[in-house]
């Protein structure tokens, strides 16, 4: 038996097994439980690295669940795939790598302070990872829906972790209502496509749409998919759950929630670029660009007036999602107009790279904010001050995250934002100017936070954050600086395969349909 062949199944099975095991082990000993969770996640991380390497070297990987030959997608005497097919191309591998990496860092952070009700916390944490990975690795629409549900419910439950503050429950309720509506839309759209083509496999549906042309039902399904996934990805008019959910969750959970949001973004990309592809109307990229602009605008302006530290960062996250959507919208517009080499490739590179940078930068800020709240038990910016005296490392790390989010040169934020500005300028200079202006306002906001939280006279004697917390933040900061100093390595080795997967959807289809 060749383990490499079974990697996709193992990557999902191992955290799932650990999630079922955790409630049992929790009854025996807390230390054993933590060890089980950590070993499972570390094993998943290592396997994911092997998978990513394999996919980037040898192209798309196929795994058929339960078949006698896991690489044969279409069984005997049939015209279409019957079983569930996992299909991992460059984009899936890229997203899976992000998810597992962020979950591992979030787990190290959580070990430092999550004790009370820890068994359930780690179970849900693992299930959240399972949901994300399942969404990203699958090649089957209904399977995508199932794992979307797992990720949504697990995140909603984790948001309520500090339920003694009543506002967490409200945030979780908002999140679960939005998720349920989105899931309902997705299910309805899948039902329509299944009714139309008798197919659930994404590659097969893509081929069917390509051959028979876009019918009205396909259009309705597209609108529903688009609305649902844009809502879950936090595009601006439907962003109202984001500040609540990000703001009220514990620090590590906020960070992993970004990865969950981006799994929905991945689903949006998959639907737009792979399933509908050439039959898309130009309205869709235009809508994505407009959503992106509104997100940037709302995120930045609302962040100006917040005085809760985590809500402020959450609005910054809305703006970052706007940058990603802007770049991807421009890229999709270019791909539809056959102007790939002119600017679309660059825009997509910037957008995809920014997915990674967004999660690292905002994630670092969330972790630092979580640390501050853990130490001082205070969320209000006006009541915090002078923390640089006692929390030296934390303030340096916050400065790094701040510079990265604002897009200052040595950090990774700059590397991806400059690509976005450059490519967006070719479509319309106004878009580029708006994006740059927003970035400048963001810098002003974060300088304000740094000033009010870290500088000034010492208010009270505080310890620095626990060591494990610090370690997880340092890993993130190191990644940020590395990505900023050597962006070419990352773009050539990790981002480009994902961009190629987006642009060339024929390979995705032919790997399943032959």
């Amino acid at each position: 038996m060749n383990v490499m062949e079974h990697l996709p199944a193992l990557i999902i099975a191992i955290p799932l097994l650990a999630a079922f095991l955790t409630p049992l082990v929790d009854k025996i000993s807390k230390k054993v439980r933590n060890a089980v969770v950590f070993i499972a996640l570390a094993a998943t991380f290592i396997l994911t690295i092997f998978l990513v390497q394999d996919v980037f070297e040898n192209g798309i990987m196929i795994y058929v669940m339960g078949a006698s030959n896991p690489t044969q997608t279409i069984p005997m005497q049939a015209a279409v795939p019957i079983r569930i097919v996992l299909e991992i191309d460059g984009l899936s591998a890229f997203m899976a790598l992000i998810s597992v990496l962020i979950a591992l860092i979030g787990l190290i952070y959580s070990f430092s302070h999550v004790e009370e009700r820890g068994g359930k916390f780690y179970t849900l944490f693992l299930l959240m990872l399972v949901g994300m990975l399942g969404m990203e690795l699958t090649g089957d629409l209904f399977n995508l829906f199932v794992f979307l549900e797992i990720a949504s419910i697990a995140s909603a439950a984790l948001i309520t972790y500090e339920f003694k503050r009543g506002s967490t429950t409200e945030a979780a309720l908002k999140y679960i209502v939005i998720s349920s509506i989105a899931a309902l839309f997705v299910l309805f759209a899948i039902g329509l496509l299944y009714g139309e083509y008798d197919l659930l496999n994404m590659a097969a549906i893509a081929k069917a749409i390509k051959i028979t042309g876009l019918s009205n039902i396909d259009m309705i399904a597209l609108i529903l998919f688009f609305a649902a996934f844009a809502m879950k990805a936090g595009a601006a008019p439907m962003h109202m759950w984001m500040p609540d959910a990000y703001g009220e969750a514990p620090g590590a959970v906020s960070m992993v929630l970004i990865a969950v949001t981006q799994a929905s973004l991945y689903a949006l990309l998959r639907v737009c670029f792979t399933i509908y592809a050439d039959s898309l109307h130009v309205v869709i990229p235009a809508a994505i660009i407009i959503f992106g602009l509104i997100s940037i605008f709302i995120g930045v302006t609302m962040a100006l007036i917040q005085d809760d530290i985590k809500r402020l960062i959450a609005y910054a996250a809305v703006a970052e999602v706007g940058y990603i959507l802007l770049a991807i919208g421009v890229g999709l517009y270019g791909v539809l107009n056959n102007e790939v080499e002119l600017y679309a490739r660059k825009a997509l590179q910037g957008g995809i790279f920014h997915i990674f940078n967004d999660i690292l930068d905002i994630g670092l800020l969330f972790l630092v904010a979580g640390g501050i709240i853990y130490i001082t038990k205070e969320r209000n910016l006006n009541k915090l001050g002078g923390l640089a005296h006692s929390m030296k490392y934390t303030s340096i790390l916050f400065l790094i995250g701040l510079a990265a989010v604002a897009g200052l040169p040595p950090m990774n934020g700059f590397a991806s934002k400059i690509m976005i500005y450059e490519s967006v300028y070719k479509v319309s200079p106004i878009l580029s100017i708006v994006a740059i202006l927003a970035s400048i306002i963001m810098l002003a906001i974060f300088v304000k936070i740094f000033h009010s939280v870290f500088t000034g006279p010492k208010i009270s004697e505080q310890k620095d954050v626990p060591k494990l917390m610090l370690a997880s933040m340092i890993i993130l900061a190191a990644l940020i600086i590395f990505f900023g100093l050597f962006p070419d390595i990352i773009i050539n080795n990790i981002v480009n395969p994902a961009v190629n997967a987006l642009i060339e959807n024929a390979a995705y289809i032919s790997n399943v349909m032959g």
Partner: protein, 110 residues
């Protein structure tokens, strides 16, 4: 806000009715497999392949759920074998929801 909700409701209702009108008749197999996949080797759809054929001369099932999974109830063979991974996912959805409720309401044993 109420007007907006009403408009959203009307649009969604229109989607529901229009798609119910447009979609193929209930219970009919899709007739367009040949047009959809002109280059496919066999013209057998998902449903036909799962239900399979009973060969009266040899007394055995050919290429169907019963031959492949050994279960008489084809629905179960779809739910647990062909789409067993989805069932695992659904069971996990239930598990997740219950873990969430335990996190919210569960009391630590003293």
């Amino acid at each position: 806000m109420k007007k907006l909700a009403f408009i959203a409701f009307v649009v969604f209702f229109f989607f529901l009715f229009y798609s119910a009108y447009e979609i193929r008749d209930f219970g009919n197999p899709p007739s367009n497999v040949k047009e959809t996949f002109p280059d496919a080797k066999y013209k057998v759809t998902m449903d036909d392949r799962i239900i399979g054929k009973y060969n009266t001369t040899t007394g055995e099932w050919e290429y169907g759920a019963v031959e492949e999974t050994g279960a008489n109830n084809v629905v179960t063979s779809v739910v647990f074998d062909y789409r067993g991974y989805d069932t695992l996912g659904e069971a996990t959805v239930l598990f997740t929801a219950i873990a969430g409720i335990m996190l919210l309401f569960g009391r630590e044993k003293k």
